[in-house]
Amino acid sequence: MNESDRELEEIRRKKLEELERKSGGKKAIDKPIQVTDRTFDQVIKTHPAVAIDFWSEWCPPCRFIAPIIEVLAKDYSGKVIFGKLNVDENLAIARRHGITSIPTLLFFKDGKLAGRIIGAVPREHIERELTKIIG
């Protein structure tokens, strides 16, 4: 990263923080946030621990994961940011990560890929991956 990149980064971070403040005061995010191909990089860079749920309306096992993600977003509020990326509308990021099956969950620590879960799995399984990106 060069100097101007760093500056850009700083501006981005501030903007996002501002957005978060506006949307929910000082309260930590306790719901999954919508992520798109355009916002993906920003989201994983600005938060130290992120889990992204790649899903689509047409996928039955995605509907199985969805309520679990909702609950985890609440339980891990302040520790992990949960994002949902609809692959029907956003294919680029999924392609970049070689995803061809949904649901897929990707876990990021400090912007780096740290874990991957493919398919519908129980909550405990997801929590095991979460411990890797916290702290």
Partner: protein, 310 residues
């Protein structure tokens, strides 16, 4: 311990139907579903052989069943999977990941899970080109080359669905003809799906994602490698019957729960219906029919013990 007249394991077409009949006959009925209601039927892109619906998506059909079932008064617990059963006594005990329940009768309607081929590369590339659900993952293969493995209705339906997205679809089957309905086969030909008969998938290769498949012609004894981006596996399924087997309920060699013509299992008061049973036809219509028998029999077992003895 929470007590129910009838506990049904699984909320696919069989479980939901048993729920309708159980609740309507006045039984306090609970359906336990490991995931969300719908079962395998929700994965069918298009159903054309279920009476009254010449063409309906699986998701739409199961949503209708679910609504009907709820209206009938059956209770459904999602995300609650049955881990164990104790069915030795008159009162059946059902153990889930959340708690213990008591019931007078139990219907097993837990269906099947996707079968795996067990070939090299299958595990490694799962979710990186290898898929078990066309409707979930088809969109990733727009304009790409895919292979569907299998010879039954679900393989044929999946290949048809993919033929609207992928640039080339090959259906490979180890025998020289499909088990799928002729109507589906005709559609496959119209959609220019390529058939590769007497062919086994031997290995899946790639770099990051799937790049090629090694195919074996089991008649000529020849091996060839074809370039491909996606592989959809739709082969023999595996019955979800571990918990039943552990409880001493008879299963066959492949793990299907053995039932008689009244859907009774080897244990009194325990019934089974749908894809998890030894019934050779695995369709929504048969699952529904079996569930009607199972729920009606369970009702008789609970409410008319004298009539039903022997």
């Amino acid at each position: 311990m929470e007590y129910w007249d009838l506990i049904i394991i699984g909320a696919g077409p069989a479980g939901l139907t048993a729920g309708i009949y159980g609740a309507r006959s006045g039984l306090k009925t609970l359906i336990l579903e490991e995931k969300i209601p719908g079962g395998a039927a929700a994965e069918s892109p298009l159903i054309e052989n279920y009476p009254c619906f010449p063409g309906i998506s699986g998701r739409e059909l199961v949503d209708k069943m679910l609504e009907h079932c709820k209206k009938s008064g059956a209770e459904i617990h999602e995300l609650e999977n049955v881990a164990g059963l104790d069915v030795r006594g008159e009162k059946k005990i059902v153990k889930t990941n959340k708690k213990l329940y008591g019931a007078s009768a139990v219907i097993i309607a837990s269906g099947c899970s996707h079968g795996e081929l067990g070939v090299p590369g299958e595990k490694k590339f799962r979710g990186r080109g290898v898929s078990y659900c066309a409707i979930c993952d088809g969109a990733f293969f727009k304009g790409k080359k895919v292979i569907v493995v299998g010879g039954g209705n679900s393989a044929a339906t999946s290949a048809l669905y993919l033929s609207n997205l992928a640039s080339n679809v090959k259906l490979i089957h180890r025998r020289n003809q499909l088990r799928a309905e002729e109507a589906l086969v005709k559609n496959l030909r119209e959609k220019k799906v390529e058939f590769l008969w007497n062919t086994d998938l031997k290995e899946i290769k790639g770099e990051g994602t799937v790049k090629s498949a090694v195919l074996y012609d089991n008649k000529k004894g020849e091996i060839k490698e074809v370039k491909v981006d996606g592989i959809f596996i739709q082969v023999s399924e595996v019955p979800n019957s571990q918990f039943a087997k552990k409880a001493g309920i008879s299963t066959d060699k492949l793990g299907y729960v053995v039932v008689d013509e009244r859907q009774r299992t080897s244990i009194n008061g325990v019934y089974a219906a749908g894809d998890v049973t030894t019934c050779p036809i695995k369709q929504i219509g048969t699952a529904v029919g079996q569930a009607i028998i199972a729920a009606t029999e369970a009702f008789g077992y609970i409410k008319r013990p004298y009539y039903y003895k022997g």
